[in-house]
Symmetry: C2
Subunit: 174 residues, 2 copies
Amino acid sequence: MDSLFLGECLAVLTRTPATLDAMLRGLPEQWTAATEGPATWSPYAVIGHLIHGEKTDWMPRVMIILEHGPDRPFEPFDREAQFCDSQGKPISELLDEFSKRRRDNLARLRSLDLQEAQLELAGTHPGLGRVTLRQLLSAWTAHDLAHILQVSRVMAKRLKEEVGPWAEYLSVMR
Amino acid sequence: MDSLFLGECLAVLTRTPATLDAMLRGLPEQWTAATEGPATWSPYAVIGHLIHGEKTDWMPRVMIILEHGPDRPFEPFDREAQFCDSQGKPISELLDEFSKRRRDNLARLRSLDLQEAQLELAGTHPGLGRVTLRQLLSAWTAHDLAHILQVSRVMAKRLKEEVGPWAEYLSVMR
């Protein structure tokens, strides 16, 4: 990617709440609560996970890199927190919260007016070791897309038996 | 799925245009033209393919089942048609066209007021053989989700190098 890197990440990060909102708001619970089996996530759980990421993962880590550099490792991220935090809330409320937290975080990110050289600043990930700010922003963006992918996959697989012979043409069913 | 089957399919089919619109409209061309390599599809190509499906695949096949049953095989679907049909059009125009055609097709589908028993009516797919109306409607729905999945995957993979060590946590990159 070229020097427009940050703008390209922002273009995706900005769109994710509306994408998931369009997909999931008002959708019957048979869809939003569907999983791929025991210990796998429903679309509902994914939104809770994304909210937790906005609260504790991405922007807090940006700030740790800028304020402390690699000397202060990031807090480990709790990948299961949504199962406590979101429990019982309607998905419409979670979508609203994700949208608001993302908007606030991106406003803060933009206000930092990051320069190209700052993207090479490093931090310390508790599991992955040395990472740069550029990699963190890329991972945030790819992580959004990976979860849109997951939501689509979980929902599609619910139709595995229903599609009958068409399963042969739908690689998602394999 | 229960007797609410048709409603559940409609809930997804109705949302797909807005989902892809939220993801792709106004997105830099670096994203919408990205592919997974030679002979793979960009998000732009996917929208063209979905338009062609609205024109020649799903609803026309519903009507063939209802009007002719299994005696008249479906027309084969051209999976590459979008490379001629859509060429040169801005993606905003394709998103508008997909949205309009889908809306018209779903209005027509609703107006058929299909009854449970009709969902078991059969048609003949040129490649897959005997299929039911229920399977056709399921496949239409799963096909939408499979292409949202594909768009997310193509876009995520563009960041494969950029995410650095995070690739380990992102199964989409493998």
